[in-house]
Structure formats: C-alpha cells, structure tokens
C-alpha cells in the first residue's frame, strides 16, 4: 500500500515563483504601498493640512519629491495619507459589499423558489443603474464622511458577489455529495457549514480581492467629484481634482503624483488577484503549468 501512496500536492498558495516578473513587481508595489500607508504617520509626522504659503507650487525636488501644491503642501506626503484613506475605504467597502452580497446570494441560492426570483430581480434592477450615479445619490443623501463613502461603495458593489454565491450554491446543491450528506442525517445548518461553505469561501475571498481596486476607484471618483472626504483631508481623488487647476499653470506634478499612486496600487492589487484566481482554477493552473 505504502509504495502506491500518491504524492500529496504541495501547498503553495502564496509562494511566488521566479520568472513571474509582473507578479513579483505587483507584490512589491502593494507591499510598499501598504507599509508606507501604515507607517506614514510614524515616518513623516507632518500635519497633512498644514499650509506653507512661502513654499507653494514647487516642482519635485530632493526636499519635496512629489512637489508642493498651491497651498505649499507636500504632494508625496499628502499622497501617502490619501493612499491610507483609499486602501482603508477599499478594503472595508469590499468586505461590507461581500457580506451583503454573500447574504443575499446565500439566501437566494439556498431557498430557491420565489425568494430567489425576487432577490435576483432586485439585483438585476440595481445592476441596470450606473454604479457611480447610484453611489453619488447615496453620498448626497448623507453627510460627507468616511462612513458615507464606504456605504456608497458597498451598496453598489455587492451585486456580483450575490450572483457568484447564488450560482455556486445552485450548482453545488445538485452534487451527489450533498445527497449523501442528507442521507447521513446531516441538518441543513451542518450541510451549509461543513459541505457548502468550504467550497464557496475561496471564491468569495477572491471576489472580495478583485473588488478592492474597484472600490478604490469608486472612492477616488467620488472624492474627485467633491462628494468624498471633506477637502482639507487628503484623498487621492480630491488631490487630483485640486491639481487640475495647477495643471494650467504648468504644475503638472500636482495631479500626476496622486494619479500615479492610485494607478500603480490598483493595478498591483488587480494583478495579484488575477494571478490568485488563475491558481484557484485547476484548468488554468494546468495550462500555465504551475
């Protein structure tokens, strides 16, 4: 028996391989961004709204690598603080959206019948509306704050998760091992916890990860439109907006620095999430020879 034992597949969920330059680069960018965001208040304890009118609109230099804006504030410093906000909002909003989507999709997929039809028509209806417009509507009804932004994102981004969870449950329900578990006397709660959840949790986690860059963009868009955080607090969106005016006077860095930060970080997250998705799918994994 022992010599027939099959080799166990090695676990390599997070191990990076040499040769995947893009993945490594994305991981480094993301790790750098998260570390910089977390450590910013320690490394660079400068009041983000402190105005220095003797130092306005300076191009990038050694003293100010990101230049300064029309109120003399350091562009890189404010970008880091804006990044903190973006990452926090992106993560929290993605998690909240996943919880909402998971609950709706779970109820629809488990109950079936009219609750399923009703909930899915609600999902279709909301999908038919433009996300940003709906998001603007939600923040416009609330006072501008971090919470309002998160709510606006969460309430517009749970739809895909609901659909994923529902369709997974519908297909899992027909698999013979569910019948076998029922025949073994398992209760509905036990089947959900021990037989269904282990299947859908990785997919939900992946959906959440893929949602983070969307959520970050949504926050940036809202802030750019002046509907996000109050203007004195740095956010990548309102920095890009502020920088527009300076662009006309030749101060290109005011918009470019926060813009570059948001593009790099969201691309890094999206690249890593896509790579993770490829690894989770055995067919793609075989194709890529991972």
């Amino acid at each position: 028996m022992a010599d027939l034992a099959l080799a166990r597949p090695r676990r390599r969920t997070l191990r990076l391989r040499s040769g995947h330059v893009g993945t490594t680069l994305a991981a480094l960018v993301l790790a750098g961004a998260v570390l910089a965001g977390l450590a910013a208040p320690l490394l660079w304890p400068l009041d983000q709204s402190a105005i220095a009118l003797d130092n306005i609109a300076q191009p990038p230099s050694l003293a100010h690598p990101g230049g300064t804006d029309d109120l003399g504030r350091d562009g890189l410093h404010r970008s880091l603080y804006g990044l903190r906000v973006s990452l926090l909002v992106g993560l929290v909003a993605a998690v909240v959206a996943t919880v909402i989507g998971g609950l709706v999709g779970g109820i629809a997929g488990l109950l079936g019948g009219w609750p399923d039809r009703l909930l899915m028509r609600v999902v279709d209806t909301i999908s038919a509306l433009p996300h940003l417009l709906l998001g603007i509507f939600i923040v416009a009804m609330l006072r501008p704050s971090l919470g309002a932004v998160i709510l606006s994102i969460a309430l517009t981004h749970w739809l895909s998760t609901a659909r994923i969870v529902r369709s997974e449950l519908l297909s899992l329900r027909t698999r013979p091992f569910i019948d076998a578990a029922i025949a073994g006397g398992a209760s509905r709660a036990r089947i959900l916890r021990r037989h269904l959840l282990p299947h859908i949790l990785p997919k939900i986690a992946l959906a959440t990860t893929l949602m983070i860059p969307h959520a970050v963009w949504h926050e940036t868009s809202l802030s750019f439109l002046g509907l996000g955080l109050p203007p004195h607090l740095a956010s990548l969106g309102n920095m890009i907006n502020d920088g527009q005016r300076s662009l006309l006077t030749g101060a290109w860095w005011a918009s470019i620095v926060p813009g570059a930060v948001i593009v790099m970080v969201t691309l890094a997250i999206a690249a890593l999430a896509a790579r993770w998705r490829d690894r989770l799918d055995p067919r793609v994994r075989a194709e890529l020879n991972l």
Partner: protein, 304 residues
C-alpha cells in the same frame, strides 16, 4: 417484528411527455438479523427504492404506498423528522458512485470524525471504523480526488457504519473493489446481521448476493418478480427471469437473455418479462401475483 415494512410502494417520475414507472407496487419487509439482497439489471428501479426511503427523490417524483420503520412512515413523516430521527440514525446509506458522494474539499478523516462526533461517538475511533471497512488509516488523510475508486468505496462504507444504524441500505457497495475486498465488505455486512443488525443490499452482483444474503428479491422492470429465501432462489429459481439471470453467469450456462428489458415509460399491462420468456403464452397478457410473479413458474410448489 420487522425493522422496515414496505407496503405497495410505487414511484413515478413525471416528465414533460412521459411518465417513468420506476418502482411499482413493491412490498418488502426486513427483520432484524436479516440480509435482504435486492438484485436486478441496471435501470430496474433498485436505487430509486433506496432514494425513496431517504426522501432524496427529485421534485417530479410521485411516491405512493407506505414504508414503516416502527411507527414512522418514512415516506410521509416529513423532512424534519427524516433528518432528525431516520437518516443516518435508524437508516444508514452506503451511496452508489462513492467518488462523487464525498465532499471534494475535505479529507476522509475530517468527514469520518465529524460523523462519529455527530452520533456521540469518540472521533478517535476513525481509524478503527476505517479498518473495519478495509481502509488503511493513512488513506484517511487524503482528499477524495486522491483516492482510488475502491478506496472511496471503502470510505463511504466506513462513513455509513460510523453511525451504527440498525438498518443499513448498501447501494452497490462492492463497485470498484477487487475480489478479496468484495469478500471483505460482504463479510462485514454479514457480520452486522449476525450481530442483530439488518442490511438491505442493492446489487447486480448475483455472486455477492449468493454469498451473504438470507433472502433475495429479484426486481425486473420496476416490480419484484421473485422474493424467496436465498438458498432456494439460487438452487431452484422459480421465475423464468431469475433462472435466465442465473444462466447468464459465467460459471453457469453463460447464455445471455435474448432481447432487452422494456422501457419504464411504456410497461406492458401483463407480465413485463413475457416478450423475452421461453415459457410465455396467452395467460401472460394478464399480470401474475404472489411471491413468484409468474403464471408458469419453474418450481410450482413455490407459488403458495
């Protein structure tokens, strides 16, 4: 006293343009200590019978008749009662096609320990229960996709035994096993019966039934055509279909039965076997009854 008393069980599936008559007017009983083998060709309704008892039939199934376990009619008692009292507790199932009956993302040990715990037994018994079913302890730590068909078969057997139900329904429990393991599994089922348990063995392996069964029920085209003690059935089959089945065995005449079984969507009003039967005559246009459902049985005294 009986553990399970099935009276007039019929199962029909309504399709868009046809009705599949999967089980017709089936009456059976299982006593404690009895090993009843239900044998028959693929598609004769054996597995539907098992699924009906567990309430696992799809929604388009129409079930009539009764199946009493004690005072509970498992066909009518409702989902809640089935889940809490019957399934896994008084009625165990060794499911068919074990490879798909195992949750792919969990190891055998995790499934077995959970089952033991759920039935208030020591989860540490997992190795012992697996060994009883002929499965090595190290195979328990693998995921279902890493198991061979035979290993998966022994694992589902172990899972069904973990709750130690008074009546075990084993749906083709020897598929994918080689001869020594088939014998091991059959002996395991026989021992359960000798220790007061009962087993309803669903199989198309007549040699397996001959080895361990006390009684045999032969199914053909949704009905039981012969239901008698096993030694009698194998020594002197009374129904021409049973005789033809036995003659098809390699170590007997090795002669196939001519023709095909009728479609379950278009069963004849009389004897379903008449079209293939050498003894058929005009009487066979009406349906025969009794423990041997034949107008012209090979052993006349069996029709009492």
């Amino acid at each position: 006293m009986t553990l399970l008393q099935i009276d007039g069980l019929s199962v029909r599936f309504r399709l868009r343009d046809a009705v599949v008559q999967a089980v017709t007017d089936l009456t059976l009983s299982v006593r404690p200590g009895e090993l009843l083998a239900v044998v028959g060709e693929s598609g004769c309704g054996k597995s539907v019978l098992a699924h009906a008892l567990f309430g696992l039939l799809p929604r388009n199934a129409e079930v009539t008749g009764r199946a009493l376990m004690g005072e509970v009619d498992v066909l009518r008692c409702g989902e809640k009662r089935l889940a809490r009292e019957i399934r896994g507790r008084r009625l165990g199932l060794v499911p068919q096609s074990p490879a798909t009956a195992l949750t792919p993302v969990r190891t055998g040990r995790s499934l077995l320990a959970e089952t033991l715990r759920a039935h208030r037994r020591d989860p540490g018994l997992a190795d012992t229960v697996a060994a009883d079913a002929g499965l090595d302890a190290h195979a328990l730590d693998r995921y279902p996709f890493e198991l061979s068909g035979g290993m998966a078969q022994r694992l589902v057997t172990a899972l069904a035994l973990a709750s130690d139900p008074p009546l075990l329904i084993a749906d083709e429990p020897t598929t994918g096993l080689d001869r020594p393991l088939v014998d091991h599994t059959l002996d395991l089922l026989r021992r359960r019966c000798d220790n007061g348990g009962a087993v309803l063995l669903i199989t198309h392996d007549l040699a397996a039934a001959e080895r361990v069964a006390d009684t045999v029920a032969v199914m053909y085209a949704s009905r039981i055509v012969e239901h008698r003690p096993a030694p009698d059935v194998f020594a002197a089959p009374a129904h021409p279909y049973t005789a033809a089945l036995l003659d098809a065995l390699p170590d007997r005449a090795f002669t196939p039965i001519p023709g095909h079984p009728p479609m379950l969507t278009a069963l004849p009003p009389g004897c379903a076997f008449a079209a293939r039967c050498p003894r058929a005559d005009t009487a066979c246009a009406s349906r025969p009854g009794g423990p041997v459902a034949c107008h012209h049985p090979l052993v006349s005294e069996a029709v009492a």
